[in-house]
Subunit: 277 residues, 2 copies
């Protein structure tokens, strides 16, 4: 099966890394929209527009399935992507539903806290999905914008990330309960988060999503292939991406994203009409 | 005089703030490309392409002058912007030359250090301009990516920004000499930088650029007007921008940047041919 993995930039490589371990043997094409990263601070409209142009490019590559690795894109654009992909027979799998299911499975008592970008937290997709499943659940979202540049700088241990985490997580430092890592960058900070939140159970949406892909498409014995497309320079993607993927990305090509075409253009046009009215 | 102030996002509001104080009475139109911010981690080609599309929009608004407030755009795109603007009679003023002149005026002995984004430091525009003026100068560039999200979060004093600054600036902590703030976000960190670098003289390119504009176009007694265009949502721009401008932006409209037209399209096409050959 040919599986497109779509992310705003480099962070989704943690999802690809989980896919390679948990659902090996498929042909993975990772597209990082590095010319327009990050999606996490952008408006819903902009995230939908960017997501449709990325998915339109993946459809041109004849993928059978698109994994929306970016939490902010999953928050705002999943419905639009499903509508555009359905007539083409392309499956769409976001990271939020798998993360929510894994969190509910791990949950025993106390609160559930979602950590993510400004966009993911403001969009409340995790919060709504959790409350839909268990209406009386105590759910809190905390936006942690500094976590992304800390992960990209490789400052993932020592005094600085601990101080930043303590500042964001001050209201929940001693809480037990479940904490969802609702951003692809955050798995790099798991050691520091375990230290700052000693009583919490951390749920990584990347791993949960990889299990959903393995359930749907199985694992294969064949080696499978992995290739990459990025919309900005390849050298930074490879340099910083190595920390996220666990190995250096190879077979990386640059693509120019043009306006979405076909069903993607139709969905965008409908969305823009609705959001302006 | 109608002056367009172009920035990748919110940071250039420190330049606008300096312009309002030092060169008052003009009609300022600030354009923040918030849908594609930050430019600081992008490739030269992408920065040139984005800069030409922003300037093309400002030209449609009949500005007489474009102040390129973004250091990364000034680093990579100034020549392209000058070439495209010259036939239209639009002046182009970047932040680097004014910053370099101010640094050389303040310089007595020791080293000159430039702080900036990855793109600004890698592009070496400050370093080259300084060395062109004084070939034997000891010039160092230090990229400080965490400074931007710290400024946008408003974490500009206390333990965390001090620890981050000490980590980036470890090689120069006790040095005297001149330190150029080569990113529009960094003036918000001046108190912490003064504390971490007690012997250095800080040079703020924003203020230096405002003096160049005042020299060229004078100050006017009339009140002047200020308006804003952004390419992504207005609410975040106003909320975060208030800290940068010193007052809340009003008269903010959303614009969609289309492909550059006229001389901007011609310059882009020439640039793309040259950079791919």
């Amino acid at each position: 099966v040919k599986i497109g993995v779509f992310d705003s930039g480099i962070g989704g490589l943690t999802v690809l890394s989980a896919l390679m371990k948990i659902a090996p043997g498929h042909d993975y094409l990772y597209l990082g929209d590095t010319a327009r990263v990050p999606y996490g601070t952008r408006s819903a409209t902009t995230v939908v527009r960017y997501s449709l142009s990325v998915a339109s490019q993946l459809a041109l590559e004849d993928v059978n399935c698109i994994v929306v690795a970016c939490n902010t894109a999953s928050t705002y654009a999943l419905a639009a992507l499903e509508t555009a992909c359905a007539p083409l027979g392309i499956d769409v799998i976001g990271v939020i539903k798998p993360g929510v299911t894994a969190a509910l499975n791990a949950y025993t008592q106390g609160a559930i806290v979602v950590l993510g970008t400004e966009g993911t937290i403001r969009g409340k997709a995790y919060q709504h999905a959790l409350m839909a499943a268990r209406p009386n659940l105590d759910v809190t979202g905390i936006a942690c914008p500094l976590f992304v540049p800390l992960a990209e700088e490789g400052w993932t241990d020592g005094e600085i990330p601990a101080a930043v985490a303590e500042r964001y997580l001050r209201p929940i430092l001693t809480q037990s309960g479940v904490v969802i890592l609702g951003c692809t960058h955050y798995p790099l900070l798991i050691p520091v988060l375990n230290q700052v939140l000693p009583n919490a159970t951390l749920i990584d949406s990347a791993t949960a999503t990889a299990h959903v892909v393995a359930q749907r498409f199985g694992k294969q014995e064949r080696p499978g292939s992995i290739s990459f497309q990025v919309t900005d320079h390849i050298d930074r993607f490879c340099r910083v991406g190595t920390r996220f993927l666990g190995l250096e990305p190879t077979q990386v090509t640059w693509v120019d994203l043009v306006a979405p075409s076909g069903t993607f253009a139709e969905v965008l046009s409908t969305y823009m009409e609705q959001s302006s009215s």
